[in-house]
Symmetry: C2
Subunit: 268 residues, 2 copies
Amino acid sequence: MTKDIDHWFETSVAQLSDPQNQRVWSIIVSLFGDMAQAEGDQISGAALTRIITPMGIKPEAIRVALHRLRKDGWIESERSGRASVHFLTQYGRSQSAAVTPRIYDRAPRIAQDWHLLIADDAAGQAVLDDLLLLPNYITVNRNTALGHGTMPGSLEDLLAIGASDFAVPDWLKARIFPGDLTAACGSLLQELKAAGLPPAQPDALQIAALRTLVVHRWRRVVLRHPDLPESFHPASWPGTACRDRVFALLDALPRPDAGTLNSAWDGS
Amino acid sequence: MTKDIDHWFETSVAQLSDPQNQRVWSIIVSLFGDMAQAEGDQISGAALTRIITPMGIKPEAIRVALHRLRKDGWIESERSGRASVHFLTQYGRSQSAAVTPRIYDRAPRIAQDWHLLIADDAAGQAVLDDLLLLPNYITVNRNTALGHGTMPGSLEDLLAIGASDFAVPDWLKARIFPGDLTAACGSLLQELKAAGLPPAQPDALQIAALRTLVVHRWRRVVLRHPDLPESFHPASWPGTACRDRVFALLDALPRPDAGTLNSAWDGS
């Protein structure tokens, strides 16, 4: 049984890892966001190494990434006797909290209240460019933004129009769901299918490694596109199937808390 | 009494005429459209002259305009003994019939079913340019058309979106209701106010002259803008007040039929 689950773990981690293409600091951000986001949560250096090295990442690379995350204000590290512990800063926690709802939303509510903001060829362009920095606006073309939520009231230079019943051309689908995003989502789906569900309960560190990988890969898909009505999806968009697989596997790998992870290591 | 009405007629015709700026062929088109649009209707050359010369237009100018209208296929002329008669061709009748509903619509029903068609900066521009030739589309900007009626079903390259709740910026109001249109509408309104209503019933030829002038002036306002929700009107748009005055005066000048006009002249 232990052999079965170890084999499944190794195969699945190999499937879901992408050694050529994974930034270690970003994986660490995914790990803390998933399992040590609360104030007071901390992960020991030893546990971190045990969770991440199975992905084909060397301890030196972890040290370099932690150095960078400290420099950028995401993480603080403390010594505790001979061991070290790491935890998210206030800034790191707030960055993490900002995207958590979208990453873990298993049935996104598609907004119903859409509107368009349209600039003239000359007037309003600057206002529009500012608006497109907001999370609830997407670019339709140079003059046009599609947004949801309440229509802004004081946009003198923009034509604002309530929008419904979308018939979406291929160029817009491709702009919102570009080919590399569709490819990233499609290969995650394939790898999740290949991994399947665990034949038995993995140990806490195995769970942590797999959860980190799944959350990391999904984060890079889900945060790159807005939740839009299905009529905006390219025919080949695998997002819905992929999301289902992501949550099926996460549900089979119940989140260990940070304390368990640290003691799993201490005690092994 | 006759003196009163003759005075009112002369004053009002002078008010509503615009000798510097009226194309005689266009006035003749307005006249036929109002009083001799049906197949078989004809206006004698003598009646035509009596109706139009009070506007400050010389008989030679009428002859030149009739020549042009014959050349363009709008009108045919026949001799009848020593007199001539003129009538709309099939083409002239159909052109006239095409705009009659809008000219005489005293309470336009504002469409409720609006949609936007949006081209990419590159794709779909040619389709959009073609669509903008249709009467139910107006230009928002280089990439965007606003239309009413059923949303087209097969516009591969265009984003089609149902539209409601318009907040319209000044640049779009000014594009749809340009300054010279607002000015033309405003001066027609002032002149209709100055003319007021007839103090007694004018004779058939007087009625014909006044109806021709009112329809002619109104035609050049109403056909130059689409019927849009009030939120699209510039604050100064005098269209609704102008339309009310147009129909108040037309109602006070019951349309004579072509036969009455011709015999009014024969019998005088």
